[in-house]
C-alpha cells in the first residue's frame, strides 16, 4: 500500500511541476474547426466504469463574491449521489451529499471581540466539510455501514482563490451506524467527537485535464460495542483526461484506498465519462468576429 501511495504522490508532484504557463483552451484543426482543450472538473455529471464497478456522480462548484469586499471569496463545492456498485460482487458505496465550503480572504485573522476588538493575522483560510447519507456494504457480509453525518472544520494552508489547489486539515466529527441488512437491525454505532483529524491535498491543472487528490483521516473513534479504537483511512486518486467526445472529456482514473477497520487495501483503475458539464469559460468554440 505504501508503494501505491508513494506512486500516486510522485505523480502528484509531476502534475505540480507541469502546472504551468498559460495556454490556449481552444484547439483549432487544420480545417478551422474548434474544440475544447480545457475542462471544468467541478461542474459535471459523470459516470465511471472500472475495476471497482460502475457508478456516477453529480458535482457542482461555484464561488460567492462580494462587490464591497473584493478580497473575500466563498468557494463552495457540492457532490451529490456519488455512487459505485461493483459489477461482479455485492459491493456498494455511495453518498447522498458531500460539500466543502471554504472562505478565502486575503488577510486571514482571528478577531477577539472582548473589550476593544483585536485582529490577529492567521496564515490560512477557514471552512467546513459536510457529508450526509453515506452507505457502504461489502461482499460476503450482511453488514451495511451508514454514515449518518460527518463534519469537519477545515484550515486551508494553500489560500488559493480558485478551486485548483487545496492543502487543508482539520478535526473531524462523525457518526456512523452499522446495520444488519437481513435482520434490519442496528448493530453498532461509531462516533468520532472531533477526536480524528483529516488532511486533504487536491491539485488540479489549470487546463482541467489532470487532477490529483490525497486524503488521510485518522484518530481515536468510539464504538458502542468495542469502545475506543484507533482508526485510519487513506485514499489517493488521480484523474487524467485522455480523450474528448463532442468536447466532453473521458478520463482515466487511478486510485488506492486503505482503512484499518477492514485492514483492506483496494486499488482501482477505470474510465470516467462526462455526460454533461459546464463549458470552461476560456473555451471559444465560436470563431471570433472580424473587426
Amino acid at each position: 500500500m505504501k508503494l501505491s501511495l508513494a506512486a500516486v504522490t510522485a505523480t502528484t508532484c509531476l502534475l505540480l511541476a507541469s502546472e504551468a504557463r498559460a495556454e490556449s483552451c481552444t484547439g483549432i484543426t487544420s480545417s478551422g474547426g474548434r474544440f475544447a482543450t480545457c475542462f471544468d472538473l467541478g461542474n459535471r455529471l459523470s459516470v465511471t466504469a472500472g475495476s471497482e464497478g460502475f457508478g456516477g456522480s453529480l458535482a457542482l462548484r461555484h464561488v460567492v463574491t462580494f462587490e464591497d469586499e473584493p478580497d473575500l471569496v466563498w468557494k463552495l463545492e457540492h457532490q451529490m449521489l456519488d455512487v459505485t456498485h461493483a459489477t461482479f460482487e455485492d459491493r456498494f458505496s455511495g453518498a447522498l451529499y458531500r460539500g466543502r465550503y471554504v472562505r478565502h480572504a486575503r488577510d486571514g485573522h482571528i478577531v477577539i471581540p472582548l473589550g476593544t476588538p483585536k485582529k490577529i493575522f492567521l496564515p490560512f483560510d477557514v471552512g467546513g466539510f459536510a457529508e450526509a447519507g453515506r452507505i457502504e456494504w461489502k461482499p460476503d457480509s450482511t453488514e451495511v455501514r451508514i454514515g449518518v453525518v460527518k463534519t469537519a472544520a477545515l484550515f486551508d494552508l494553500s489560500r488559493s482563490r480558485d478551486f485548483r489547489r487545496r492543502i487543508a486539515f482539520g478535526p473531524v466529527a462523525k457518526w456512523e451506524v452499522d446495520a444488519d441488512r437481513d435482520e434490519m437491525t442496528l448493530t453498532q454505532h461509531t462516533v468520532s467527537p472531533f477526536t480524528s483529524l483529516i488532511a486533504n491535498v487536491r491539485l488540479e491543472r489549470a487546463n482541467g485535464r489532470s487532477l490529483a487528490n490525497f486524503e488521510i483521516e485518522g484518530g481515536e473513534v468510539w464504538h458502542s460495542k468495542d469502545g475506543w479504537k484507533p482508526d485510519l483511512r487513506a485514499e489517493a486518486s488521480l484523474e487524467h483526461v485522455v480523450l474528448a467526445v463532442n468536447d466532453r472529456p473521458i478520463a482515466v482514473t487511478l486510485g488506492v484506498k486503505y482503512e484499518t477497520a477492514t485492514d483492506e487495501v483496494l486499488a482501482r483503475v477505470g474510465a470516467r465519462v462526462v455526460l454533461f458539464d459546464r463549458r470552461d469559460p476560456r473555451v471559444q468554440l465560436a470563431p471570433l468576429k472580424r473587426r
Binding site: 469586499e69 482571528i110 471581540p113 485582529k119 492567521l122 483560510d125 459536510a130 454505532h189 472531533f194
Partner: protein
Amino acid sequence: MTRSLTLALVAMGIGLPRLAAADSGGLLPAMSPDKPVICGRDTEGKVWRIQCDAAAKVCIYAANEELSSSGRRTKPLERARDCEIDQDFDRKKLEASGYSFVQGRVDAPYGWLRDERGRILQVNFDLRKRIFFGAAYTPQKILDNPLESKRTSVDFGLLSFNKLSDGATPTMHRIRLVHGEVHVEPFSAEITIAHWDVSRRFLDPLLRLTTFVGQPQRHDLHLNLGLWTEAGGLEIHPSQGGHSTIWKHATLQGTLDLWQSPDLNSFVRVRSGIGLEGQHTDGTGYRSALVPSSAFEIDAQVDDDGFHNVKFEFTHEAPRYFVPFQNSVEGSSQRFATRLKAKLSYEAIILAINDQPLSIKLAAGGEKRDDIFGVPDQWAFVADAGLRFSLWAPPRDPTPRPAGP
C-alpha cells in the same frame, strides 16, 4: 505606526495638524457611515478620506488604504464607500472658518468595525444563518487517556436559515436542515433532517376590547399564530439489552407566539400538534404510534450584535401506540406512554476566525419518559459545556424592523 502616520501627515498638502486623542474605547474616532465623505490628495499624491461635521466644526481624516503595522499603505480599503477626489478641498479656508482636524478611522458598514489600520472585522453575527459543528463535554474524564472521555458529545447543523418576509403582516420563516447531536458512553443520538416553522405578526387584532371606565380606551388582543413542522427525525437511546430507535416520520404543530421581538428573531411561544413515529427496541421489536405533543419555547438573541443567545424548551409528548407494549420486565402491557423534556442552553461568541464565530455553549436539561424498555420512569438530568464553530453567520439584518404592535 502612529509616528509613521504623523510623519506622513506632516508632508500632506492639506496640512492635517495633529493626531487626535483616542476615544473612550481605545480607538480613534470613526467617520459616520450616514454622512458624506470626500477624498483629498496630499503633496505626495497619497489619498486621504475626510469627513467634516459643520455643526461641531470638526473634520475627521484617515488614510484611504489599509496600513501595515509600520504605517505603510498596503492595499485598498475593504467594504468602504466610493470616495471621489475633491479638487476644491481647501484646508486653510476650513481652518480659518474654525474647523479643527482630527485623525480618525474610516467608517465601516453595519455589523463591521474598522481598526486604526483601516482593516475590517465583523462584530455582529446572525447565528440563525449558519452551518455549525461543535463538541461538548461533561466534567467526568478518564485521566490516563485524555482522548477517551465519557459523555462526550458532538452537535451539528448543516444549515440554519431565517428569512423575514417584511410587509403589513411580517412573517419569519425558520429553516433547519440536518440538525442534531450525538453522545458517546453511553451512546445516544438525536437528528432531524428537515425543520420549518413560521411566525407571523398579524396586523389586525383578533379581539378589540373597549373599556368605558373613565376615558374610553381600546385594548387589542393579537393572536399571532404560526406553523411548526419537522420531518425525518431520529432518536437513538440506550435501553435494557440494546438500543431503542425512534423514527419521527413527521410532526405538524400550530404555534401561538406569546411574545415576539420587533425583528421576529426572538420569541416566546407555545405549540401543539400531532406526529407519526415508529419505535424499534432491541428485544421488543417495532411499533408505531400517533404522538400528540405540545411545547413551551423561548428563543432569544439577548443583545443587538447577536453575541448572547438563550434557548429554553419544555416539551410533552404522549405516544399512543397501535399495539400494546411493555416498558419493563415486571410491567403490564400498555398503549400509552409519556415523554417530558426540558432543556436550557446559552451560547455566546468568544472570538472569530476569519470572521467566522467560535462560540461557547452551556446547556442543562432533564428528561422523564416511560416509552423505552428498561429505562426507569424518573427524571434524569445532564449538563454539558462545549464549543461551536460556525460558518457564514453574516451580520444581523440591518433592515428596519417590521412595524407592529
